[in-house]
């Protein structure tokens, strides 16, 4: 997952898929899976069967076709962001919006020492490890033995083993280990009761060092902030961060450019439409008062002023604009597609609050 130092790179070899590599298999924009390349085995999904030996030696970013030419997938190089989307959820995880904000706000860079509790599924830890590489270290703690072991295994597979130490420890009950006193450059807490550990944090944070606490509930945030204030932390700030994703597609829109009606007809229709729109307001299935007004408007501006266009005869005046069927209204399908974007109808509206603070720097 990590970049290889230049002096250790062979000619573009780091981009070629090798035995044992973790690969992100991109099936569709919303479907990705992780796979470890293993000769003699196959990757199977609903699109096809893909022998791993076909992948070896191909560059990451390649498209591969399944057995008998059925199905295809793209093979991507893992990044912490992709990993977040494919990892196995052992707990609730943090997503890219929160992760990037935490890393950015805590100003985590190469060489830093970061304390994290708890490890959870390792979604954030992976990003922390990327940021502190190659000289820093992440000390991550979780009180769940099996979870810690599974996370350790993941970090190893992704080549982060030397950068992350996962230990089993109840941070809320026991605090961080003594040997880390004064060594941290940043602390991240994802605990149910962070206020229990905050009073003991001062010794671990040296200088104007930042910390972040993640809590889903505002009551937790409230107590956390009180604990931070009474323990002489400064710059206490709480944020909520979200990412809204957009669905991009092409769409054809009907346009109201009617052709073929003379001025008077248009004018007559317009008056009819206005009458009708008033009458029909209460009827079921015809709650179209607004479009009617719009159509009326279009009639006036386009047709009436632009008399040379011919509007095909309208069957009866009462049809105008009242039917949803575009053919009847003289609405023409505009053949040109437009590229449109709108947010996905449903989205995760809240993950948690991020509270940041700094250990106050003391007067000499």
């Amino acid at each position: 997952m990590l970049g290889v130092p230049r002096d250790q790179r062979t000619e573009s070899a780091e981009c070629l898929i090798r035995e044992g590599d973790v690969v992100i298999v991109y099936e569709r924009h919303d479907r990705m899976k992780q796979a470890t390349v293993c000769k003699g085995k196959e990757f199977q999904n609903r699109f096809g069967v893909f022998p791993y030996c076909d992948w070896i030696g191909k560059p990451f970013g390649s498209r591969v076709v399944g057995k008998k030419g059925i199905g295809f997938v793209y093979l991507l190089k893992p990044t912490p962001e992709l990993w977040t989307l494919v990892l196995s959820h052992r707990t609730q995880i943090l997503y890219v919006a929160d992760i990037s904000f935490v890393v950015g706000f805590l100003e985590i860079g190469p060489g830093k020492v970061v304390l994290e509790s708890g490890t959870g599924s390792g979604s954030l830890t992976t990003s922390l490890a990327r940021s502190i590489a190659p000289l820093g270290h992440v000390y991550s703690f979780d009180f769940h033995e099996l979870r810690a072991e599974a996370a350790r295994e993941d970090f190893k597979r992704n080549g982060l083993g030397s950068l992350v130490t996962v230990a089993v420890r109840d941070i809320q009950g026991q605090g961080f280990p003594e040997d880390l006193v004064g060594r941290a450059d940043a602390v991240f807490l994802d605990l149910p009761q962070p206020w229990l550990v905050i009073p003991h944090l001062g010794r671990y944070l040296e200088g104007n060092v930042p910390l972040c606490s993640f809590s889903p509930c505002i009551e937790q945030v409230q107590r956390t902030c009180e604990a931070l204030t009474s323990n002489h932390f400064t710059d206490i700030r709480t944020f909520e961060v979200l990412l809204r994703s957009y669905d991009v597609r092409t769409q054809t829109f009907g346009s109201l450019s009617m052709t073929g009606v003379k001025e008077e007809i248009a004018a007559e229709n317009l008056s009819q439409v206005r009458k009708l729109s008033g009458q029909k307001r209460g009827r079921d299935g015809l709650k179209q008062t607004e479009p009617l007004v719009m159509q009326g408007h279009v009639l006036t501006t386009e047709e009436v002023t632009n008399g040379k266009e011919c509007i095909p005869a309208l069957s009866s005046s009462s049809d105008i604009g009242l039917s949803k069927n575009p053919e009847n209204t003289g609405v023409e399908r505009n053949s040109s597609e437009r590229i449109v974007a709108r947010p996905y109808p449903e989205t995760r509206g809240h993950t948690g609050f991020l509270t940041f603070a700094r250990q106050g720097s003391n007067l000499n």
């Binding site: 970049g3 498209r63 591969v64 860079g109 590489a133 104007n208 990412l243 991009v248 092409t250």
Partner: protein, 592 residues
Amino acid sequence: MSENSSETRSKRHMGTIVIEGSSILLDINHGDRFTFARAHTSSMVKLGNVKCSLAPLIGCPFGSIFEVSKDPKGPHLVQVSQDKEIQSSNCNKTEVHGVEELDICSDRDNRDLIDDNTAQSLSELEISYMRRDGASGTKIVEALIANSASFQNKTTLSQEKYKRKKQKKHAPRIVVRCPSARSICEAYFTKEPSKIGYLRMDVLALLLSLANVGANADVLLLDELGGFLTAAVGERLGGFGTICSTYCASKVPSLGMLGLFNFTPCTSSSIFCAPLFELIQARSSISTAEGNHEVSAKGHSSTEADLHSTVLPESPLTALLPEQQTKIAGSLLDESEKILLVKGAQLETRMSKSLKASLIDSSIGFPVRVEMAAQEFSCSYQLNGEIEFPNQCTVDAKSQLQTFSLETDNLVGEGSIATVGQLDVDSQTHQLQGEIKNRTNCGFKGTDDMVHTATNAESKHDSQDKSLRAGRRASANQVAYWGRHGFSSLIVGAPEMDPLSVCKRMLPLLSPSAPFVIYHPYMQPLAECMHHLRKERMAVNLQLSEPWLREYQVLPSQTHPHMQMSSTAGFCLSGKSLNFSSTCFPYHEREL
């Protein structure tokens, strides 16, 4: 391991204390105002209506708090203890907390408040006398409270609020912060968001994550935000890896913001700049030399798509087919365009030299230099005047105009290399001059508010380690290396560029499966770009997203979102580049 940790520890301490020559960010009243400065014993900073020496700051750890003391010696900065600060700035301390509980149901409210400005008996004049006699800000605040008829009738909450308000006015607190990408971003976003393209700190963080910026990365940037993105990437890489800030040949990039950071020589030396055409050439020439059919298809597609993108905004997928590639390989560029590129490059070097010279020196006499540079440009341009340029950009420019209805000013000279072709010399020169002025304003110097304390020491410092200077021109070897390996990520922050044209030119410069992210203040260009990339299978894992950030005030019984929040900070399009060859050929035709 122990060696490593001691190394990291010493490294860590470098950034924790203000030393002579440090770039500092003064945070006034917790984010109300920001001022950039360089800490020298001799330098002064203007705070409100007084000027103070920065000498007391030197040797203090970042995060130290100061206030202005106005005793007879004249105004100067005095350090305030953390505890005092906590008591005055945070009102969610335990003793207040006890009162709060009662306060909600207290019978004090504003029913008797008459807002006729008579509550305060202390006059403006009396306050100014106090100040003249050397009363401290805290004293003034105390006097104001004592003389306020309505203070005692306020609820505890509004008493605190009143105190905070008066404190801010009469005894501003100044926190010395270490300029980091985050703090600089926040400062600019508060002060002058246009200078960083309205990039909010969460968006910046998102860009760095989505582009997988981490040790040993080779990051390619198109940074039209005054070098801010480049600097942020530099900070994140901390000297591990390389950064290349690219630009079109006719444009001089401003990397002025790099000067705001306290970079180690190691970090500075990892930041390069190189014109785009050089990178494209390196990428395609490498693949030709190797004679590898597959790679060459990939390499050439860049320049090929390049030309097509300007001629036909919707270049068909067939344009990338290898048969055509080989045919076109010989005539990758129009002769005229080649010349233009070369000339552009020469001009660019000259211009950037003179511009940089003017940046390094103090800002006095700087406009003259810029003008000289601009004249130089116009002269050389006239030499090439007879060359006929392909009239491609009209299409681009027009479509841009329709889509985002940008101001014409912005459009001119922004489109692409070929835009130059349409412009008459005068307007180009004029434009360029304006642009350069604008750009330099983005930088450290020249902005009135961002107090700059230029001294000779600084320019000396710069010239001393020229070989390590951040943003220096990349060597041919370096460029060739990038050409051979491809960049491992791409970040684009060019608010006035069409993202699709950028992608067509720049994605081929990436190694396959490399992440890229484009920041743009408008959504529609990104949506169109995303659609085309998807349709032409140039990238996968495409995501168009809009970041959203809300800050909360968390105080006992007073927790609520901040009144003011940023309603938009632009959009991000992210994705992963593909192995071009493999997307063009059907599976059975390839032999790998």
